[in-house]
């Protein structure tokens, strides 16, 4: 097991498996969020379901997610350090040929997403007052509306969702290859399904702040 974790392939597999868990989560989370368009009552009931009625399940999920994020970030960090060490003298000139912008921003985009996740949890789950002074426990719908009435927060969330799009676009494509599961392809760099997943998730998430900002959700 330790040998597996020590190898570059093993670490990448851990990163991929935890990434898959996180992809599953963001899809569910996104679907849940969209209930905000069904009205305050329905949305708050959904929040109550997660935070009170099914709190044991929620905790179990939280633990899994926490461990996944930690392993995902740790493996990424260690692999990044390995890569940096592998080329101590940089090229004076190196032109990318086929790599996507998405693949080249995985690392810094990942760091940004990590910061975003911390702030996001602080804002809507832990109720950090410096992020949302009017936060009220139990009033999930109201909290969302209050936050996204501020254009800065909308902008911040949209930027984060853009990075999520890039991260998912490369990540969901790469993960099957990391796990040795994808089929051979004439154009292995082509990625249609990952593009659809990335767009659906990103658009789904972005609808919430946009809905508030545009006055559809109030």
């Amino acid at each position: 097991m330790l040998k597996f974790w020590d190898s570059s392939v093993g670490k990448k597999v851990v990163m991929g498996l935890t990434g898959l868990i996180l992809v599953g989560f963001v899809i569910g989370h996104m679907a849940g969020n969209l209930q905000i368009f069904l009205g305050m009552e329905r949305y708050n009931a959904y929040a109550k379901l997660l935070q009170e009625d099914l709190i044991e399940v929620t905790w179990a999920v939280r633990v899994v997610l926490f461990v996944s994020v930690v392993l995902h970030a740790l493996s990424a960090w260690q692999l990044t350090r390995r890569s940096w060490a592998a080329r101590p003298v940089e090229y004076d000139m190196r032109e990318a040929q086929v790599s996507t912008y998405a693949s080249r921003t995985m690392r810094w985009g990942g760091v940004f997403l990590f910061v975003f996740i911390v702030l996001h949890i602080g804002q809507f789950t832990l109720g950090w007052k410096w992020l949302l002074p009017e936060f009220a426990r139990g009033a999930a719908y109201g909290n969302v509306v209050l936050a996204f009435e501020r254009p800065l927060w909308v902008a911040f969330y949209l930027v984060a969702m853009f990075f999520l799009l890039l991260h998912l676009f490369h990540g969901t494509w790469a993960v099957l290859r990391t796990l040795g599961l994808a089929r051979n392809a004439a154009e292995p760099l082509q990625r249609r399904v990952p593009l659809i997943i990335a767009i659906v998730v990103t658009v789904g998430f972005s609808l919430v702040p946009l809905g508030v900002a545009l006055g559809i959700v109030r």
Partner: protein
């Protein structure tokens, strides 16, 4: 035939593995567009020699794109601007009169510079030593046709086996990863029935060796495949990962049975 060209060269010069390196500029004059890239360097070198200066050292041998000896970064691209082409098969007609060309060696911790554009690629041999073979001693095989192999498998194995070991995949990879080279050999042998008995053991030990040599990990940028003069697909990396995972799951500790010899 078109006229000749003048080309400005910015070349990495480094006297030895420990010596500091720096760029120096040269002008290649009256270059024929029909000449190959290395012939252009030959002419520059001949002039340097006659001036009593050290010529630019670069590796090369067959000059027909198969031995894998040549290779340098040409304007930031491994083996230069032509796709599926080694440095020796690149021709000057790919450039224009007055162009500036930057030449750098393959850069990776595992490929230390020996001199100028010459690097030490011995880690590639050691990766093969770790398991890139089928353990069959001379004289022991059965008849060649006793083991039918589907044409599809044989063709795919040949696609992987086409690797010339030039190291462009490492050079082009932002992580300086050697995954494409390693995966090509694991796949070549793993696709054939002869390679099955050692298949998973081979994947485990070759991956361990490539890590040990100090190469980076694979993040599937795809740059290796674009740089590969033989167009080897990153699908083979997927195959290597699969073999590695299955090997890690099913690996049995080697038992030493005393007196079994």
């Amino acid at each position: 035939m078109s006229g000749t060209m003048n080309i400005k060269l910015k070349v990495w010069r480094q006297a030895g593995p420990k010596a500091p390196g720096k760029f120096e500029e040269y002008t290649a004059t009256e270059v024929s567009p029909e000449s190959s890239f290395l012939e252009m360097l030959d002419v520059v070198n001949e002039k340097l020699v006659l001036e009593g200066k050290d010529p630019i050292a670069f590796d090369h041998d067959c000059r027909e794109g198969i031995c894998g000896m040549c290779g340098m970064m040409i304007n930031g691209v491994a083996h230069g601007p032509s796709k599926l082409t080694t440095t020796c098969q690149l021709h000057m007609r790919s450039f224009k009169d007055g162009d500036s060309i930057t030449l750098e060696p393959w850069r990776a911790k595992a490929f230390p510079v020996i001199r100028d554009l010459v690097v030490d690629r011995s880690p590639l041999d050691r990766i093969i030593q770790a398991g890139g073979f089928i353990s069959v001693a001379t004289g022991s095989p059965q008849d060649a046709n006793a083991l039918p192999i589907s044409k599809m498998d044989a063709d795919e194995a040949m696609d992987a086996a086409a690797c010339i070991g030039c190291g462009a995949c490492v050079a082009a990879c932002p992580n300086a990863s050697v995954s494409l080279f390693t995966a090509a050999k694991i796949s070549h042998l793993g696709l054939l029935p002869q390679g099955q008995p050692e298949r998973y053991r081979r994947a485990l030990s070759m991956v361990a060796q490539m890590d040990l040599e100090g190469f980076g990990g694979c993040t599937l940028f795809g740059e290796c495949m674009a740089a590969c003069p033989k167009g080897i697909s990153i699908d083979f990396i997927k195959r290597m990962n699969g073999d590695y995972i299955w090997g890690a799951i099913t690996e049995k500790p080697e038992k030493v049975t005393l007196g079994s010899g």
